[in-house]
Amino acid sequence: MCDFSFEVQAAGTIVALSTPPGRSGIGVIRISGERALDFTRSLVRDPDFSPEPNRVTLKPIFDPDTLEVVDRAVVTFFKSPHSYTGDDVVELSCHGSPPLLLNILDVLLNLGARTADPGEFTMRAVANGRLNLTQAEAVRDLIEAQTHAAVRQAARQLGGELSKRLQPIKDVLLEIIVPLESSLEFVEDDLPEDIARNIEDNLFALSARIDEMADSFRRGRLLKDGLRVALVGRPNVGKSSLFNGLLSSDRAIVTEIPGTTRDTISEVINIEGIPVLIIDTAGVRPSPDKIEQLGIERTRRAIADADLIVAVLDGSLPLINEDEEIVREASSNHCVVALNKSDLESFCSNNAQRIDDNLPLVSVSAKTGKGLDALCAEIIKPFTAGYLDESSFVITNARHYDLLRRTSEALRAAQGLIQENVSEELILANLYEALRFLGEITGETTPEDILSQIFSTFCIGK
């Protein structure tokens, strides 16, 4: 009868490597769906294998062709609906050898599993009501999170923190809407005077609070996307040693960014929880060499894309015009001047006196590591002023930021209308719009919710 005979994409048992590809200590294979346990039984050649949910079991994994034990894996079973996706889930923690993992995945696919699409585990979790959309977005951020601070931030959002933070704001908004609405629906009940007086003040306080939350997006973005910092300077001022110095001073290198150009090298370091991509550029100088010119061109592009420029100068030598030119160009962006080679006897901080006093300047020694911490602090300073308290909540998602901004705009429009003495239904149109934007994060407020509040607040009806 049903003309939907196609196979629903959401069906079936899906499988994927859930740790990053590449050689690692442990590789986790996740299987989700009705047949997750079935497939595991075949894999461990134990038809009676019935692991206790949420407990780990060490099991040998067999190659079905050769019947050889290929690995010993830690098997964890999460029973539906108490799993991440809401389906039955088995996680196999194997040794992190790529060929081994691929082999096990192959076996599972041959058994009838299907490769999960990107985000499909999360999609299933949403579909099974295990996560709401805000949480799902946080999961995506969690996966993409590069440093510990970002992980903490994403974990907080996962617990519905954003919804929780917005709830009191929404409550205040409802406190404004309810008496206005009541006065429209039930003419005989005039707006109590104290409430009428408070509406404007409340609106003002509310939009300020929302703005504050929206502002935290800057720091949120910082935690998630990190900073791009380019080291620029004449050849041989010590950019590369500074680059290496910064890397080794930071023990928490997270990833090597693939696809970097041959002549600009970049690495991510962690400065107070913020992932900072440091780009070592080719020295800038006029050159007839075609290849070097290309390198210099790339350097200019790196400068253009960077959030901050570290202008590296050789502090052991008097500055020349080219140095000044580099600093001048860099100062059009956020910029820190690093006066390198402070370990040399000929180093003289006075060499920098021709540099603009307003630019932050740090004396460093790439060689001894002296001053590197100060340099790191200067690098993040322009982006973190007032925002570095990790306990404070930040917005990390552009959609949430956008919604908060629009909420605030709608509230301001409502304030404007109140000042012009415009009729309530127009003020309410803006307030409802604000409520709708908030609702896209926290869940919808229905007319029934508002009516309920009216009836519990006011004695309505003839």
């Binding site: 629903v8 949403v126 579909a127 429209l184 629906e185 009729s423 149109a429 009516l451």
Partner: protein, 626 residues
């Protein structure tokens, strides 16, 4: 049991209250031989609660009924004794007409209108059962052994299904005070498997007006220029009366508190759920102990009677106590109660049983309208009656069903709310239930709905001509308002600046002028170009100014609607088995199956459905399209 029928009709409507009258009138005018069966021919169009029509959101509904070609607006326009436009100080979207009715005249006029409707046949009798063949209704059985045949039946039983009246500790079965309840019909619905719930409503005592000291009360006069409900009514001719406003006091409240055990509401005797927005005086006193007084309205029941309706004092306390309480109100210290107030419990059917055409999913050809669907209010009932009647006619004529969208009408909001969310208390319309209330003004219901009424055959040629000529005048007026500008040098500019005490700049159009909160249409009217003024009515001008006022908002809303509609209008095939969708929990499948939403938008509004289930459903619907 007999198998033959005494009479043959196309459609039978059961119940001649506000829903039944609209249903029967619409069916008959759409060409169907229609029987309207009522327990008593003398209570056709009876206002069993307060003698008034309209109010905020309710007045909107009456205007929409009228625009579609319904009769409620026309009848109240001829029988209203006090017309007031509510929320006059606010914008036109939340203004609405309300009128006190002469209860007896309303009944008489309604019966007169029905008796003079072609194809409409009044029958008195108590319906006890439906005749059903292979899941299709084919007629009804009356208590007096008569059997009437029809392929569509509209059931508009109001509060009569298992009606039980409470006054103090005494109870008796009744449909309304003084009329028998329908017990057998309620049983037959249960036998058919309809999920039945219980609701409650109440009325206040009626007073002897000769014993009221009127001078003690604040008077509330009618509007000087009564705004009619019907687009067909030019002016309200009948004389207008005054209502009066008074208040309860602490002494009244104390007596109520001391005697709560006497109230069936608080003794546990009443099981049904009452409306929160129309609380009994017992409820008001208990729930809002900080209020030292509650407002009361003394509303006359008609020209020829001294009966007065004590609005705001709905109660089911024993009669002696009602009389004692009334005496505690200054001005009523000598007043006699003519009829005591009472509470009534009645059966309703879960409206999630219904299709958007108000047809039941259990029995083909059977339609439900009005209070049986869990609503309250004459207007809410009437609009369902109209839609059920239209659809019953379309059903027997083999034509496609008729629905209205939420964004184009309050009627659409009401029916969509009922069938997707069900009710847990008597459902009343509020403007805040409509997402697009700025676009659902009382004075634009003709523009929104009359073309439908015309297509359905409910608006006669002369009525359609009136509609077209009004739309035409409004469009010319709009052009004129935008085009007429006054320069600083003109006398009009000087005069207007003086009138509204504002600098109007070097040049101002009538359209921009109309947007000043201090400029009312009567000022504007004087400055219209003579050529336009000659044929423009005041109401034309108000509507045109309203259009200009909300123009920007409505455009934004329409853009939002389109965005939402793209998703909301993803259709859900009627034969889709929700159990086939993997990832939907058993509970979600049950909720979806109970409502059987026709599109994703309706699914979104089902109460208790989770966002997760919705995204699974949408995902399924979108992937299944390819």
């Amino acid at each position: 049991m007999r198998t033959s029928f005494d009479e043959d009709f196309d459609v039978i409507v059961i119940g001649a209250g506000h829903a039944g009258c609209e249903a029967a009138s619409a069916c008959a005018r759409m060409g169907c031989q229609t029987a309207l069966v009522t327990i008593s021919l003398d209570t056709i169009g009876q206002m069993s609660c307060n003698p008034a029509v309209g109010g905020i959101a309710k007045g909107h509904l009456v205007r929409e009924i009228d625009a579609l070609g319904g009769i409620m607006g026309r009848v109240i326009d001829r029988t209203g004794i006090q017309f007031r436009l509510l929320n006059r100080s606010r914008g036109p979207a939340v203004q609405a007409p309300r009128a006190q009715a002469d209860r007896a005249l309303y009944r008489t006029e309604m019966r007169h209108v029905l008796e003079f409707t072609r194809n409409l046949h009044l029958r008195q009798g108590v319906v006890t059962d439906f005749v059903i063949e292979n899941g299709q209704v084919t007629g009804i059985q009356l208590q007096d052994t008569r059997r009437l045949r029809a392929n569509a039946v509209v059931l508009a039983a109001g509060t009569f299904l298992n009606g039980l009246i409470h006054t103090g500790r005494s109870t008796y079965t009744a449909g309304r005070a003084g009329e028998p309840a329908s017990i057998e019909l309620a049983d037959s619905l249960k036998r058919l498997g309809f999920p039945v719930g219980r609701l409650k409503t109440g009325t206040p005592p009626r007073l002897d007006g000769r014993t009221i000291d009127w001078d003690v009360f604040e008077s509330q006069p009618a509007d000087e220029r009564p705004v009619p409900f019907s687009f067909l009514t030019e002016t309200i001719e009948q004389p207008q009366v005054t209502c009066h406003i008074g208040y309860t006091n602490e002494s009244v409240h104390k007596t109520i508190r001391d005697n709560l055990q006497e109230s069936p509401l608080y003794s546990g005797q009443i099981k049904g759920i009452g409306p929160r927005y129309c609380p009994s005086i017992e409820d008001k006193v208990v729930k809002f102990p900080e209020k030292t007084r509650h407002q009361l309205f003394l509303e006359p029941e008609g020209y020829e009677t001294y009966e007065v309706y004590l609005n705001g004092f709905s109660t089911s306390l024993p009669f002696e106590l009602q009389q004692e309480l009334v005496h505690k109100i200054p001005g009523l210290d000598q007043t006699k109660i003519i009829r005591p107030g009472y509470a009534i419990e009645y059966d309703f059917i879960d409206p999630r049983e219904l299709t958007p055409f108000l047809q039941t999913t259990r029995v083909r050809g059977l339609f439900f309208a009005g209070q049986i669907n869990g609503t309250t209010g004459y207007e809410e009932a009437a609009c369902q009656g109209l839609l059920a009647g239209i659809n019953a006619a379309l059903y027997v004529q083999g034509r496609e069903g008729f629905t209205l969208r939420r964004e184009e009408s309050y009627i659409g909001v009401l029916i969509d709310d009922l069938i997707t969310q069900g009710v847990d208390e008597p459902y009343r319309m509020f403007t805040s239930r409509a997402e697009n209330r700025l676009n659902l003004r009382y004075d634009t219901s003709d523009a929104r709905l009359s073309p439908y009424g015309r297509n359905l055959g409910l608006l006669a040629d002369s009525e359609w001509e009136r509609f077209s000529s009004r739309r035409d005048r409004i469009s010319k007026l709009r052009t004129a308002l935008l085009a007429t500008r006054f320069k600083r040098s003109s006398w009009e500019h000087a005069e207007l600046s003086r009138l509204i005490e504002k600098d109007l700049g070097d040049s101002i159009s009538l359209a921009s002028l109309s947007q000043y909160p201090t400029v009312n249409p009567s000022i504007l009217f004087d400055f219209l170009p003579a050529s336009i003024k000659s044929y423009t009515t005041f109401s034309d001008l108000e509507t045109t100014v309203g259009d200009l006022l909300y123009h920007g908002y409505i455009r934004t809303q329409q853009q939002n609607n389109e965005r939402i509609r793209n998703q909301a209008e993803v259709l859900i095939p009627a034969n889709l088995n929700f159990r086939d969708i993997s990832g939907l929990s058993h509970e979600m499948v049950e909720r979806l199956e109970r409502v059987r939403p026709q599109n994703f938008g309706q699914a979104c509004r089902i109460s208790g459905i989770t966002p997760g289930a919705l995204s699974t459903l949408l995902f399924f619907l979108k992937t299944s399209k390819n």
